[in-house]
Amino acid sequence: LAAYRTDEGQPWVLPVVKKVEQMIANDNSLNHEYLPILGLPEFRANASRIALGDDSPAIKENRIGSVQSLGGTGALRIGAEFLRRWYNGNNNTATPVYISAPSWENHNSVFVDAGFKDIRTYHYWDAAKRGLDLQGLLDDMKKAPEFSIFILHACAHNPTGTDPTPDQWKQIAAVMKQRFLFPFFDSAYQGFASGSLDKDAWAVRYFVSEGFELFCAQSFSKNFGLYNERVGNLTVVGKDADNVQRVLSQMEKIVRTTWSNPPSQGARIVAITLSSPQLFAEWKDNVKTMADRVLLMRSELRSRLESLGTPGTWNHITEQIGMFSFTGLNPKQVEYMIKEKHIYLMASGRINMCGLTTKNLDYVAKSIHEAVTKIQ
């Protein structure tokens, strides 16, 4: 599983998390009582605020809801279960669900296990140009049956690292509005991608400003480094408070038969951090540290490849964003990397940028150079 690593190749517990955990450990007034079914109220409100922005019209108009979930996966699952029961009719398992080609492989299983029968892909990655196949994507949306559900990566697309530009997002939103397509955002890397919470949430917020009703599954695994505490949130944006209230009441029923109520430790850490201006600032700083290291590794890798004169273009390494990069290496080249150079990539050519360090950059760059020049 993908997790951030320091320049020494070690896991990193965020300093602000250590601080807050110590606060929690020292607070004898805290106990282990059940959280409400929908989760810790301070967590839910703060988590959604992070995604939508302090000045979100949806928050001002009190038409948002939040469900604390077991990681981003849990948020996706609750959202999927709700959609299967209540979207586009009652228990309409035939509603098409579109997942990007490629995508995180668990997306498919989440929607299958939630009961959807018609899972499709939409064009996303253009291997030839090593970038977004916008035309293919828009065509798929134009051809999709009305009311289809589209799983959109809010930022730092997994596994390609390739995100639409703001302009491209605008085009996507226009088509989705026209075709009555439902946007279900997966936001697993807010802050972690560009280093800016606001920048990484731009797409979600744009859709909200365009009047969409949407879901956004948030994960705090990467941006808080809280992987094993399973901290996630499903943000629901609706037309008005009444609709959102009814939606949440039904989500509560789904939660009750899945995990009853969510785990308290991780939510407490996030809630305390987000509600204190000082801790919030520290957190943003920690997040920027992680994002900056990844951005540095990208630029260093690219410049080495260009210095070596490695055949091909390598600007995609710095144009892509987030934890992963689709290098463009073909399966044979990947095999070479693994077998001969002991560098582990996915068969797709996906590399985890967090695995790069100042110590191994030269070796990795040289190995890619060898793979590309020796193997066609």
Partner: protein, 401 residues
């Protein structure tokens, strides 16, 4: 217009309603007997000392936050299996079991329900005792199974309708799934005696039923973890390859940390490996991997001899307080001059007690005495203290004399 215009408002939670009404009540003598969590003799939540010690160890060890495996923390799942099955259990020692970490009792039940829906093709029917925990039905239903019932509670005597249960179980179609509460039946507090368990085991074996045990109160019921697990262990010894869900919410007070486990007893270790692989395939699209905190606390307690000993003492302390409140309630009722037979209050075991009170009597308790419970007359004995047991007895006597 909204996508959600047709979405109905979900029904209000009945127990929540009780708590809400309790909160609004300004009577200083008010009692909340709907609470499903342990309270100490001052009516306060109780964080176990062994839990605090385990937490201190965790804080000082500065561990990382890397993802757990899908099946959970291995030290926890192994210790959980050993706790349920017993260290001398042949099934445990031979490794012919798989235990995966689950999100407390509910999550573990749900994993099991999903697993049975996918792999137990002999039947879609789950037989629950009448009554059972309210959440059992929607859990199994959402997993895609159907619910049936077998007689269990006899309201006339507030005890086990053993002949009714045996009669109904004998008629359950072969290879159906039967759910049994391992101890401290929720909501009635009525458990079979060991001789009765033996007969139930023989019968389910004869009917070739898939046995699903829900053990949410091991140690918390009698104060003795081995005694509370007796039925589960006996069934396994009789060759019944059951499935089991465990919760550490009550017996370790880890409610909000969601520590639990789901176990499948298999023919052999090789089968257990195959079952485990399928459980992982079910878990990954639900929440990827489980939360660490509660499991780590439980694991440290179970695996550290001193802490384990301390835990056993503390869980006995909780059970003893509950038992003591039952005893005091009955003696206070006698002192009030009640002529009714209240023996069921001390015969029953665990957190909950089916008092036998009728809805009208419950209504009076709420309105006239500010004593809150669910309409079925169920009280949480955890909400009773030495300070309020007299008041409770007085009130019950007033509405039943």
């Amino acid at each position: 217009s909204s996508w959600w215009s047709h979405v109905e408002m979900g029904p209000p939670d009945p127990i929540l309603g009780v708590t809400e009404a309790f909160k609004r009540d300004t009577n200083s003598k008010k009692m909340n007997l709907g609470v499903g969590a342990y309270r100490d003799d001052n009516g306060k939540p109780y964080v176990l000392n062994c839990v605090r010690k385990a937490e201190a160890m965790i804080a000082s060890n500065k561990m990382d936050k890397e993802y757990l495996p899908i099946a959970g923390l291995a030290d926890f799942t192994r210790a959980s299996a050993e706790l349920a099955l017993g260290e001398n259990s042949e099934a445990f020692k031979s490794g012919r079991y798989v235990t995966v970490q689950g999100i407390s009792g509910t999550g573990s039940l749900r994993i099991g329900a999903n697993f049975l829906q996918r792999f137990f093709k002999s039947s879609r029917d789950v037989y629950l005792p009448k009554p059972s925990w309210g959440n059992h039905t929607p859990i199994f239903r959402d997993a895609g199974l159907q619910l049936q019932a077998y007689r269990y509670y006899e309201p006339k005597t507030c005890s086990l309708d053993f002949s009714g249960a045996m009669d109904d179980i004998s008629k359950i179609p072969e290879k159906s799934i039967i759910l049994l509460h391992a101890c401290a039946h929720n909501p009635t507090g009525v458990d079979p005696r060991q001789e009765q368990w033996k007969e139930i085991a023989a019968l389910v074996k004869k009917r070739n039923l898939l046995v699903y045990f829900d053990m949410a109160y091991q140690g918390f019921a009698s104060g003795d973890i081995n005694r509370d697990a007796w039925a589960v262990r006996y069934f396994i010894e009789q060759g019944i390859n059951l499935v089991l869900s465990q919760s550490y919410a009550k017996n370790m007070g880890l409610y909000g940390e969601r520590a639990g486990a789901f176990t499948v007893i298999c023919s052999d270790a090789e089968e257990a490996k195959r079952v485990e692989s399928q459980l992982k395939i079910l878990i990954r699209p639900m929440y990827s991997n489980p939360p660490l905190n509660g499991a780590r606390i439980a694991s440290i307690i179970l695996n550290t001899p001193d802490l384990r000993k301390e835990w056993l003492t503390e869980v006995k302390g909780m059970a003893d307080r509950i038992i003591s409140m039952r005893t005091q309630l009955v003696s206070n009722l006698k002192k009030e001059g009640s002529s009714h037979n209240w023996q069921h209050i001390t015969d029953q075991i665990g957190m909950f007690c089916f008092t036998g009170l009728k809805p009208e009597q419950v209504e009076r308790l709420i309105k006239e005495f500010s004593i809150y419970m669910t309409k079925d007359g169920r009280i949480s004995v955890a909400g009773v203290t030495s300070g309020n047991v007299g008041y409770l007895a007085h009130a019950i006597h007033q509405v039943t004399k």
